[in-house]
């Protein structure tokens, strides 16, 4: 079992519905977010390209945040999801410093918080909140170890990229391009 998210940048319109859905589902404090949308403009007029991406924790295979955590509060489940146990976290900030995606933040209550791939919804057989609400259905979620899963098939048939692969983290959020 290896959970991964695949996001189709050609279908994303940058509505930020995923952001709001996450904030609502996970009670994210006001002013904070576990996912966000970036707009990347490249080229010069008239040949300009626009790429929209919904970004979040990449649940890296080689997670630097898990490696750096001095207490083991940051840990990785067998299915690849990286989680933080709030009452083991001392709020030292090492994991925040170690994340090339700046996907973590200090919760106003002190501990470090981040995207969980909506672990609590997966246990009930539901999709992550961001994936479930996406109005253009540009987000896919599933098991990479299963050759026949939607995400595996998309990655086989489409061109894709990951963010900052040079950081060596083996991120598990893929962007179709």
């Amino acid at each position: 079992m290896r959970y991964a998210m695949v996001i189709d940048t050609l279908k994303c319109v940058g509505c930020s519905d995923c952001v709001v859905a996450c904030q609502t589902e996970n009670d994210v404090p006001i002013g904070y977010c576990r996912d966000w949308v970036t707009e990347n403009v490249s080229g010069s007029y008239p040949s300009i390209e626009l790429e929209l991406k919904s970004e979040r924790c990449n649940h890296c295979e080689n997670a630097p945040c898990v490696r750096c955590c001095p207490t083991g509060a940051s840990h990785q489940l067998n299915n690849g999801i990286v989680l933080v146990t709030a009452d083991e976290c001392i709020g030292c900030g090492a994991c925040i410093e170690s994340c090339p995606y700046d996907a973590r933040y200090q919760h106003p209550d002190g501990y470090v918080d981040k995207c969980t791939f909506c672990h609590h919804r997966l246990e009930k057989g539901q999709l992550p909140a961001c994936v479930a609400v996406c109005p253009t259905k540009c987000m896919y979620f599933g098991d990479l170890d299963n050759q026949n899963s939607e995400v595996s098939k998309l990655l086989k048939n489409r061109k894709w990229k990951t963010l900052a692969p040079e950081a060596g983290t083996k991120p598990k959020v893929y962007y179709l391009i």
Partner: protein, 313 residues
């Protein structure tokens, strides 16, 4: 043209627009930790070499500073934690891969030993304030007998502590300025140099001052070499490392780094120490204080500049 914006309006405190999770307490701790490591290293080394009668400041007077520095440093670290009541979680596990876990455990051992070290010199340091309890006197003489053992414990641990202050930063590959292996030795050498400077400040004998001036001069030259080494490594590095280096060379930290750390904190005191050794009349406190100040500013520059460097956005 290439422009990237976060359109969903992300503006998380201390994360956006640039990372600022680690504030001044971390820089202060890195300085104090390095200083204590340097002081304890010299105290232990001189005791092991059985030269403790000739160099009283190194083993005795300056070693009062190390437990104070460690205590203040630990308080600074604790102050910077945001989930403070769970700090004890550090000591329910040993995480081999996490430098911070290494540091926490080393500090747990080295801090009490540094207190015991000072206690073993108590009657020589504070002859006016006698230990009035029998068990305290017994404990002191027990410590005096085991001073060599303490020195053997302190020598390796002080090196680990000194290296750890650098490794703590270099373990983060997400921050290109920090992510170079030379930072461990560089912080160790800088810590030893600040330790030697403190001994020079507190020493009353010319012989001891001259020995530590020589040691400090060597360490400063080594440190300058390591800084050049760091820059060469960065210049031969990837795009993110090149951008990181530009903060120090021609960027917003240039004045702080070259002006205050390299020139005022290393080159000027090195020249002054050299002239002083050659017989010129220069108060030794001047280069020593410059070294200490340069070491402190070096930590601030590295911690603040490092957090600005990143891969994305």
């Amino acid at each position: 043209m290439q422009e990237e914006l976060i359109t969903s309006g992300r503006n998380i405190p201390n994360i956006d627009p640039f990372l600022d999770i680690w504030h001044w307490p971390i820089s202060v701790y890195l300085f104090l930790g390095g200083l204590a490591a340097g002081l304890l290293f010299f105290a232990a080394l001189i005791t092991i070499l059985k030269k403790d009668k000739e160099y009283p400041a190194a083993v005795k007077f300056a070693s009062i500073v190390s437990p104070i520095a460690l205590t203040l440093g630990l308080l600074a670290l604790f102050y910077d934690l945001t989930h403070k009541i769970y700090f004890w979680r550090l000591y329910t596990t040993v995480r081999i891969e996490s430098p911070m876990s290494w540091g926490a455990w080393v500090l747990l051992i080295i801090t009490p030993v540094s207190f015991l070290w000072v206690l073993s010199y108590y009657s020589e340091l504070f002859p006016k304030f006698k230990l009035n309890f029998k068990f305290l006197k017994k404990f002191e003489s027990f410590l005096q007998k085991n001073r060599l053992l303490m020195a053997y414990i302190l020598l390796p641990l002080s090196v680990v502590l000194g290296v750890y202050t650098g490794i703590l930063l270099s373990a983060f590959n997400a921050r290109p300025l920090w992510n170079n292996a030379i930072l461990g030795p560089l912080f160790l050498i800088s810590g030893l140099s600040t330790g030697a400077a403190t001994i020079i400040l507190l020493s009353k004998s010319t012989k001891e001052r001259h020995l530590f001036s020589k040691i400090d001069l060597g360490l400063v030259i080594l440190e300058l070499g390591l800084i050049v080494h760091m820059m060469m490594g960065m210049y031969a590095g990837s795009q993110v490392q090149l951008e990181a280096m530009q903060l120090l060379i021609g960027g917003e930290f240039t004045m702080m780094f070259f002006g205050f750390v390299v020139i005022l904190g290393l080159i000027v005191p090195a020249i002054l120490e050299f002239l002083e050794l050659r017989g010129f009349k220069i108060p030794v406190a001047v280069p020593a204080l410059l070294i200490l100040l340069g070491g402190l500013i070096f930590r601030f520059v590295m911690v603040e500049a490092g957090q600005i460097t990143r891969y994305l956005y």
